[in-house]
Amino acid sequence: QVSVLYFAKSAELAGLRCESLSVPRHITSLQLWEEIVKAHPRLAVIRDQVVFAVRQEYVPLGNQLVVLQSGDEVAIIPPISGG
């Protein structure tokens, strides 16, 4: 069970900012994205513009294997615009 955090455009598309999600402990970042899109299909349009932050480290969507622990924060990070 991880906490998924939504920001900016991804929060608008998903309609929420935070939720719990049950996912396998070992999963690729792309598979993780696909799990999230199952729950929120409107997110599909931003697939090519987001990365994840898993335990506050950036992870691109791809074949990267991530190892998740219960309570980990996984954030969806649309293109940033600070400063």
Binding site: Q49, A75, P78, P79, S81
Partner: protein
């Protein structure tokens, strides 16, 4: 005069209240430093012919603070004589001409603090999870920094 050792410090703050240039520059002033360099990012009133009413910022706060700390650490590695670094970023609504970000760096001589300030703002725009929404008269737009490596740059 000051009893503390004047150990190099990072001052990082994300807040919704109006930012103060005086406050941020005073944080980095040091008797050992002859230079304080400042960058202020202010909100513009137009984008591609559209009138901007105001900006709204949001952040992944805990990670943003961690990323800014990393930027400070890296700046000190590149410019070891840098003394204090302050980064204040505003969140929420920022009216036109008000500051969204202020960065101040002190160093004994001016070259290092000028270069370090430039490095800090450029790297902030590439790596810190903060988002800006531009509000126009009849629509809005989530901005994307060109420094962001996962944004689509072709449009």
């Amino acid at each position: 005069m000051d009893e503390s050792e004047d150990v190099p410090k990072d001052f990082i703050k994300l807040k919704s209240e109006k930012l103060s240039v005086d406050e941020v520059s005073e944080l980095v002033v040091s008797p050992y430093c002859g230079a304080v360099s400042l960058f202020i990012g202010t909100t513009r009133n137009n984008f591609e012919g559209k009138k901007v009413i105001h900006l709204e910022y949001e952040a992944y706060t805990s990670m943003a603070e961690t990323e800014i700390k990393k930027i400070c650490r890296d700046a000190r590695q590149k410019w070891p004589s840098v003394k204090h670094i302050a980064v204040h970023h505003r969140l929420g609504v920022v009216p036109i001409t008000e500051a969204s970000v202020i960065i101040a760096v002190s160093s004994p001589h001016r070259a290092e603090s000028l270069e370090a300030v430039t490095y800090c703002i450029n790297t902030l725009k590439a790596s810190v999870p903060i988002w800006k929404k531009e509000i126009y008269e009849d629509e809005y737009s989530w901005k994307e920094n060109k420094e962001c490596f996962w944004a689509n740059s072709e449009k």
